[in-house]
């Protein structure tokens, strides 16, 4: 209490000094009244040194005294203005002021919040670009291992999707849509100044994060030049504050589980389905149904006993393979942090142990991580700092086939028939899939794979960043940083000889090792000069950087080891050298850059920013080594205009922003532009051996250039009721040209594709964020945040090519996903499903009308799929393919609600996505009557000549492998993403300040999902980078965590 009083005296003294005119002595003798009272803040604490002036007569006034009291003689009709630094100004008519308690409310702090931007900082109110600030406090209790997973729906314009639910797996992030087709669309990560640090996200402890900014428009990102086109995510880690050491210790424990199951057949249903398939001839039109109960012509020749499954009912539910391989997985997390410092030294350190087990058996990840951040003032002009992060992770990779439409459908957990037992009678793993290939065959069952295969990835990662800051004169800062990243990964995998298929074939064990090392060096040097001339503010930045990235890898693979135990660590003991392979790779890039920025500001009203970066990159083609990326932005802060003063009580912030800029995408891989003659080790056999061979693997393209995105952004920031409600609206348009495409060229040239700069895409969208404090009183606080984003993306020019596939399922002729001029990049393509053929007459008629058609003569049969013959030529081919939607949503975002009641805090967060479309490729087999896989339960309602002759679901055995609207689904969803409930016990008094507080938190992640899609989750991406493709991804989990944090 006491030091608080001193502070007040100090403020008073300063106020007195500033008010050098001594305006409080101009007392008038005419008819005046005495206005008096006490000024306090919202908590009732007296405010000392508040300036009280008379409106229209700034010369007259007084200030409040040490107890917050004031009195002044004024004319009765005058209006008094109460103003105080850090508080909102208040105006009251003098007549009303008689021993009045004037309460001043604290101005919302955010106004002067400092935000990290590329190569510097800025006040939030001075930002000219579109920069979203992620509220890290909302994210702290989310039980995920990776930072990027926390961002879902939090920032307008940022579409975050988990690539899979496997612990340690990354996300797919799109900032303002996708621009590129073949190059990456993932944003650039800058962690504590280390540019392009996205690979290390697994190594960052989310608790260490002080702030996270998402740079969206070109004005903000252009300073990162050729890597900035996809937006930039800036992450800054915590730093100690002056004062005594403060520690916190956090323990979290919980579990995760598979949130939902697929509606597939049980053993009885599957057996009946399989009997249906076996009893139906290929052509019902001309054949006989060989089923004891049904027959199309005459008596069946088969009895119930002769059916493949004579007694389906006896099979019961059978095996649910997904249940067999999934588990309720434990989660534990421990974090210890310490921070503190004095005037010259500040420190922050943390240790983290995290163990996240996966919902699929024997998968998961353990992380041990430590960080030390240290700032040291060396002289009054020189400061040095260190950021060190070390992490060790041990990932148990998933070894189970979940189920895809490719070869994995013969042993996928989703697609295996429920009639296949898990174990043999003797307790060994069963590998006999009774329906594989029509007559059965051996597979490695998911359970065998989960239990027997050992697949581990060990990573060591050291990130270090050293900087020196020299501040020779006021406003001038010369900074040099040196970052070094050292990363090692070792992947070890053993498939033992005891796997059913290996045992059956007698092939011995398989073992592989992969060693990867990456070393990245980055040196950045900047000079920053800030100067103010009157109302003119200048902020100049120049920098140059040198970056070198290198990676090496060594892969050893052997098959046929006689001992499972020694296979991995005596890889040379292979019986046959032909089944042993060694692959080595080395890869390096160098990037040189010059960068500059000019910020000009007049009176906090008019802002102007210019930035530019010139990048020279080794991976750029010979004739295009250097690239320049400029940008400019203007901002008008309307609020600081005089004419806005009258509106201040209603409107608390209004600004318009506009920016333009060019950014790049370095999608060119190292050496991609060179002509390559590569060694080939898997060639032709001569005399029982495969000798070395060389072949032209790529044609050189010396004119290859980076992709360029030109973008415009218009923004409007608006706040009302003292910024209790703020709106941010941004609209943007971006055009990307010189797309790097693997262009399909005629195979007669000897190559099927080549990398070329072809094509144009455009993005147009808006983003909308509302933050509001709905209720704000001592007992109950309720605040909400809502983001709404829309992005419309179109391929403007596909380089003269018709429709280019981005994903084609195996054994299907046409693309499932692809792009075409005037359609979105992530378009879905397929036939238009038209139900099943119901009668002979219908088939005959279709031959004349050419309205519907099947994939071939064979499929033009009762109960089989028919499709709309778009061009009425009687053939189902490429010309009948129609656009089936865009896999990217029309609108997406998140909705956050935060409540505080009597110290209990509750966070409820939803994210949503509306309007996207998704294929369920598994339905090509599991929804088509494919006898080789289990079926979705709806197949029980499939067409049947006797039982169900009106169904539009194709009959058993009618798999035609045609991609159509049949497999297409609405990917819209609403997800109860995070809920956390917390309470803080203030223990300072109880423990005599030994412990400050204890916070208990109960939180849940991915709690509920409202969706249309019949796969696990419509938020899914394939490993190849195509978005929203469900190729048997590891399902995402639901996680519940209880946590306790002690601060002392």
């Amino acid at each position: 209490m006491k030091h608080k009083s001193y502070l007040r005296v100090l403020i008073l003294a300063i106020s007195l000094l500033i008010c050098n005119d001594g305006f409080y002595v101009h007392a008038q003798s005419q008819a005046t009244i005495l206005a008096s009272g006490k000024i306090t803040d919202e908590l009732g604490e007296p405010l000392i040194g508040v300036t009280i002036t008379i409106k229209g007569n700034q010369k007259t006034g007084t200030i409040s005294d040490l107890k917050g009291n004031f009195s002044i003689n004024v004319e009765p009709e005058s209006i008094l203005i109460f103003s105080f630094i850090g508080f909102n100004t208040k105006e009251i008519e003098a007549v009303k002021i008689k021993n009045l308690n004037v309460v001043l409310s604290q101005a919302v702090k955010e106004i002067d919040e400092v935000v990290v931007i590329g190569y510097g900082t800025a006040k939030k109110k001075d930002l000219t670009g579109s920069v979203a600030i992620v509220k890290t406090e909302d994210l702290l209790n989310i039980p995920v291992v990776r930072v990027d997973q926390m961002l879902q729906g939090r920032v307008a314009g940022v579409d975050v999707m988990s690539a899979s639910g496997e612990p340690g797996d990354g996300t797919s992030i799109r900032i303002r849509g996708s621009r590129s087709i073949t190059a990456s669309n993932e944003p650039l990560y800058v962690i504590d100044g280390m540019v392009d640090a996205g690979a290390t996200l697994n190594d960052i402890n989310p608790n260490d994060i002080e702030s996270m900014q998402v740079l969206k428009d070109a004005s903000a990102t252009a300073i990162y030049g050729s890597r900035a086109a996809n937006g930039v995510i800036l992450i800054t880690t915590k730093m100690g504050k002056e004062g005594r050491p403060r520690f916190s210790f956090k323990i979290e424990g919980g579990f995760s589980q598979l949130p939902r199951s697929l509606d597939v057949m049980n053993a009885t249903e599957y057996a009946m389905f399989y009997n249906d398939y076996k009893s139906m001839p290929n052509s019902i039109l001309s054949g006989t149904i060989n089923h004891p109960e049904y027959s199309t012509s005459g008596a069946p020749t088969i009895t119930q006993e002769q059916m493949f499954y004579p007694d389906p009912l006896s099979l019961g539910k059978g095996v649910n393979w997904v249940d067999e391989v999934t588990q309720t997985a434990p989660y534990q997390n421990y974090v210890l942090t310490g921070s503190g410092g004095n005037k010259s030294t500040k420190y922050y350190f943390s240790f983290n142990f995290n163990d996240t087990r996966g919902i699929i058996r024997n998968s998961g990840m353990t992380r041990m991580q430590g960080r030390l951040n240290l700032d040291q003032v060396l002289t009054d002009k020189l400061t040095a700092g260190v950021r060190l992060n070390y992490s060790y992770t041990d990932q148990d990779k998933n070894t189970v086939e979940i189920g895809t439409i490719t070869s994995a459908n013969v042993n996928g957990a989703i697609s295996l028939p429920p009639t296949m037992p898990v174990y043999n009678d003797d307790g060994s793993y069963n590998g006999w899939n009774p329906v594989y290939g029509g007559g059965g065959g051996y597979v490695n069952s998911p359970v065998a794979l989960a239990d027997l295969v050992d697949y581990q990835i060990f990573s060591n990662s050291l990130s270090s960043n050293f900087f020196l800051e020299y501040n020779p004169i006021k406003g001038l800062v010369i900074k040099t940083t040196f970052s070094y990243q050292d990363y090692h990964r070792n992947e070890e995998r053993v498939l033992p000889s005891t796997l059913p298929m290996f045992t059956f074939r007698g092939t011995g064990a398989y073992a592989s090792q992969r060693w990867v090392t990456n070393a990245n060096i980055l040196n950045e040097n900047t000079i920053n000069y800030k100067k103010k001339f009157g109302k003119h503010n200048f902020d100049l930045l120049y920098g140059f950087t040198y970056g070198k990235r290198g990676s090496k890898s060594l892969t050893l693979i052997g098959q046929g080891y006689s001992s499972d135990e020694t296979a991995l660590w005596s890889m040379g003991s292979i019986p046959d050298k032909n089944s042993y392979s060694v692959t080595t790779l080395i890869n390096g890039t160098v990037l040189l850059s010059n960068l500059g920025r000019l910020n000009y500001q007049y009176d906090s009203r008019y802002y102007l920013t210019f930035t530019g970066r010139a990048d020279g990159a080794s991976n750029f083609a010979q004739n295009n080594k250097w690239a320049f990326f400029p940008s400019a932005a203007v901002k008008w802060n309307l609020m600081n205009e005089r004419f806005m003063k009258n509106l201040e009580r209603y409107i608390s912030g209004t600004a318009f922003r506009f920016s333009y800029g060019v950014t790049g995408n370095q999608g060119i891989a190292a050496y991609a532009s060179l002509s390559k003659l590569s060694p080939f080790n898997d060639g032709y056999i001569f005399d029982g051996n495969i000798p070395g061979a060389y072949y032209l693997s790529s044609t050189g393209s010396p004119n290859l250039t980076w992709e360029k995105t030109t973008s415009y952004n218009a923004g409007f920031d608006f706040g009302i009721l003292n910024n209790r409600i703020t709106f941010n609206i941004d609209a943007y348009s971006a055009r990307t040209k010189d797309l790097l495409l693997e262009v399909q060229i005629p195979n007669q040239t000897g190559s099927g594709t080549r990398l070329q700069n072809i094509g144009v895409t455009s993005n147009l969208g808006y983003e909308f964020t509302i933050n509001s404090v709905n209720i704000d009183n001592k007992k109950f606080k309720w605040s909400t945040a809502l983001t709404v984003s829309h992005n419309r993306q179109i391929v403007e020019d596909a380089g003269g090519y018709d429709r280019i596939a981005t994903y084609t399922p195996n054994s299907y002729t046409y693309e499932m996903y692809g792009y075409k001029q005037d359609f979105p990049v992530n378009s879905l393509w397929g036939m238009e499903y038209a139900g099943t053929w119901k009668s002979r007459e219908e088939i005959e008629q279709a031959k004349i009308t050419k309205e519907y058609v099947s994939s071939s003569v064979l499929f033009t049969d009762l109960g089989r799929s028919k499709y709309v013959d778009q061009n009425k030529d009687g053939l189902l081919d490429r010309n009948d393919i129609v656009y089936l939607g865009n896999s990217d949503p029309i609108v997406f975002g998140g909705f956050q609600n935060k409540f505080e009641v009597y110290g209990v805090s509750l966070n409820v967060y939803f994210n949503y996505s509306y309007g996207g479309k998704i294929f369920n490729p598994l339905e090509l087999s599991m929804g088509s009557g494919d006898w080789q896989t289990n079926q979705y339960r709806y197949i029980t309602n499939a067409w049947h000549p006797v039982r169900n002759p009106n169904s539009d679901i194709p009959r058993a055995g009618s798999k035609d492998f045609v991609v159509s609207s049949y497999q297409r689904h609405d990917a819209s969803f609403l997800r109860l993403k995070d809920v956390s409930l917390g309470y803080t016990f203030n223990l300072a008094k109880l423990t005599h300040k030994k412990i400050d507080k204890l916070t208990l938190t109960l939180s849940g992640n991915n709690l509920y999902l409202w969706k249309y899609y019949n796969g696990f989750d419509p938020e899914v991406s394939s490993p190849n980078g195509t978005r929203r493709i469900d190729l048997g991804a590891y399902p995402s989990s639901r996680t519940i965590i209880l946590g306790a944090q002690l601060n002392f």
């Binding site: 059965g440 059956f504 000079i527 046959d576 089944s579 040189l592 195979n747 040239t749 081919d877």
Partner: protein, 519 residues
């Protein structure tokens, strides 16, 4: 204060200087890869040139296997395939939009081989090797290039043709615009190309373990095949006689009948075969042919095939639908027996290996019920694992050359029926019998040759090519296999004699390539 300021300027200048030094130094940005070679820096010695030639064999393994056999033999007059939506039945529904795997893979693999061969030939030409070595390697590359063109013309008829190297985008653009060229002209060009190298190629046999490469005989055979397709019998004969000079008469003691088994690799009679090998703990390159040519597995995990134990195949194979010999084909073997000695059934030694009634004296269940035999041990894989067939696949062998020579004698303007019949006799003698020809007119002998080629060469990737060459493809298939399979009867069209160029290629060529027959 002044000193300080000077320091700033110095520091600033230093920074700017360093930056400009780094920036201007474009050497920093030069890529120096060590995992591949720049083509300009290659072809410096013999082992490099040889490594480039080694690659040229690789595309063979991309199409010369199961799918090609379906397109040549298993959809011919000799055999067909029952299956729900398996290739061959679908085969007669091929269209540019769904041309089938052999059209897609064959097109891609052959042109990949051609491009790499063109580059290798030019690269070797520029190399500092001695002329002899140079020509030998160039010739080897030219043989493979020629073979790829041969296959392309057999499959698609008219195709784009070029012998240029492809190093730049401009090269690719030029080649992308090449339309179909007449197959006859292509064959003539390939023959001309081969003739300039043929003398440099070694006369070595595949049975010589160290030489499983394109030899001089391979070139002779290739020229003969293409010459016959162009109805230039004189040129074909000339080359075939050179082969005969190397191999001599078909002595059954040297060229044993067991040579016909695919599982017997690189036997004396072989001229060229595509090398495969499947070792579960070694090289795994499989043709996938066997499992369509075996009796159906009764119970998985055993060696019981349609009721009969076949230890030769073993217990680890997987089940598949078997291909079916046509009645016509079966009758071809029986016809000989009937003519020769009606009581002596199946005297033809080839019948016993090409077709199988049973194994070790036990009949298959199907045969017991009066059904057809399956295909025989010629195509089976010993100790087969799953569907992996490591047997070599025959391309050219001497008996083929003899039958071609017989055909040349019969077709030449100055026809020599005696020579033709003698050669036919030579083939039959090895098969275990001698016949006397009653009719010796041109047409009758051609028919004998057509039937003999069926008996001798079934399953050796020749049948469709032969039928098309004789101009009887449509009628012959329709009246044999088509008579047994309604799907074939209903769907076969005369234009099926050649495959359509895949739609994907037509689109990529921006309409330069067309499929007129299929429209």
């Amino acid at each position: 204060m002044k000193i300080m300021k000077r320091n700033h300027i110095i520091i600033f200048l230093l920074l700017v200087l360093t930056s400009s030094v780094l920036s201007s130094c474009d050497d920093t940005l030069k890529e120096d890869p060590v995992i591949f070679v720049n083509p300009d820096e290659f072809y410096k010695n013999e082992s490099q040139c040889k490594a480039a030639v080694n690659y040229l064999y690789y595309p063979l393994t991309q199409f010369y296997k199961r799918e090609l056999l379906f397109a040549t033999d298993l959809t011919s007059d000799l055999s067909y395939f029952y299956g729900t939506n398996v290739d061959p039945v679908n085969f007669f529904g091929i269209s540019p939009a769904s041309p089938g795997t052999v059209a897609i893979n064959g097109w891609t693999a052959c042109y990949s081989g051609i491009m790499q061969a063109n580059n290798a030939i030019k690269g070797i030409e520029r190399s500092p090797l001695e002329d002899e070595t140079k020509k030998e390697l160039m010739g080897e590359a030219a043989c493979l290039r020629g073979f790829y063109y041969y296959i392309l013309t057999e499959l698609f008829n008219d195709v784009p043709f070029y012998l240029d190297e492809v190093f730049t985008f401009a090269d690719q653009d030029r080649i992308s615009k090449l339309p179909r060229m007449s197959a006859n002209a292509t064959r003539d060009s390939v023959i001309n190309d081969l003739e300039q190298y043929i003398e440099y190629l070694p006369i070595k046999l595949p049975s010589d373990a160290s030489f499983q490469r394109a030899s001089r005989q391979f070139a002779y055979m290739l020229i003969a095949k293409m010459a016959m397709k162009n109805y230039d019998y004189a040129l074909a004969k000339q080359n075939l006689l050179k082969i005969r000079a190397i191999y001599g008469i078909l002595d059954p003691n040297i060229y044993t009948i067991d040579d016909l088994w695919f599982s017997n690799k690189n036997r004396p009679e072989s001229i060229f075969e595509v090398q495969y090998m499947y070792d579960p703990s070694g090289i795994k390159k499989a043709s996938g042919v066997s499992y369509s040519m075996m009796p159906p597995l009764t119970t998985a995990g055993t060696d019981i095939f349609d009721g009969v134990s076949i230890p030769f195949i073993g217990k680890a194979s997987s089940r598949s639908n078997p291909a079916t010999p046509s009645n016509y084909f079966i009758s071809l073997y029986d016809k000989i027996s009937e003519e020769l000695d009606p009581g002596l059934n199946g005297i033809d030694l080839r019948k016993k290996i090409t077709l199988a009634d049973g194994f070790n004296g036990v009949q298959f269940d199907r045969v017991k019920k009066g059904g057809k035999p399956y295909f025989g041990i010629k195509f089976w894989t010993p100790d087969m694992i799953s569907t992996n067939d490591g047997n070599n696949q025959p391309v050219f062998r001497y008996a083929d050359a003899i039958l071609m020579l017989a055909e040349c004698y019969n077709e030449e303007p100055n026809r020599d029926a005696t020579q033709a019949l003698a050669l036919l006799q030579e083939i039959r003698e090895r098969a275990g019998y001698v016949t006397f020809f009653i009719k010796t007119d041109k047409k009758s002998i051609l028919k004998e040759i057509q039937e003999e080629r069926a008996r001798e060469l079934f399953g050796e990737y020749q049948r469709k090519f032969d039928l098309v060459r004789w101009g009887i493809y449509y009628n012959q298939v329709k009246s044999t296999s088509g008579y047994e399979s309604m799907t074939i009867y209903d769907n076969i069209r005369p234009y099926h004699k050649y495959l359509p160029i895949p739609d994907a290629e037509v689109i990529r060529s921006k309409g330069v390539l067309t499929n007129e027959d299929y429209q």
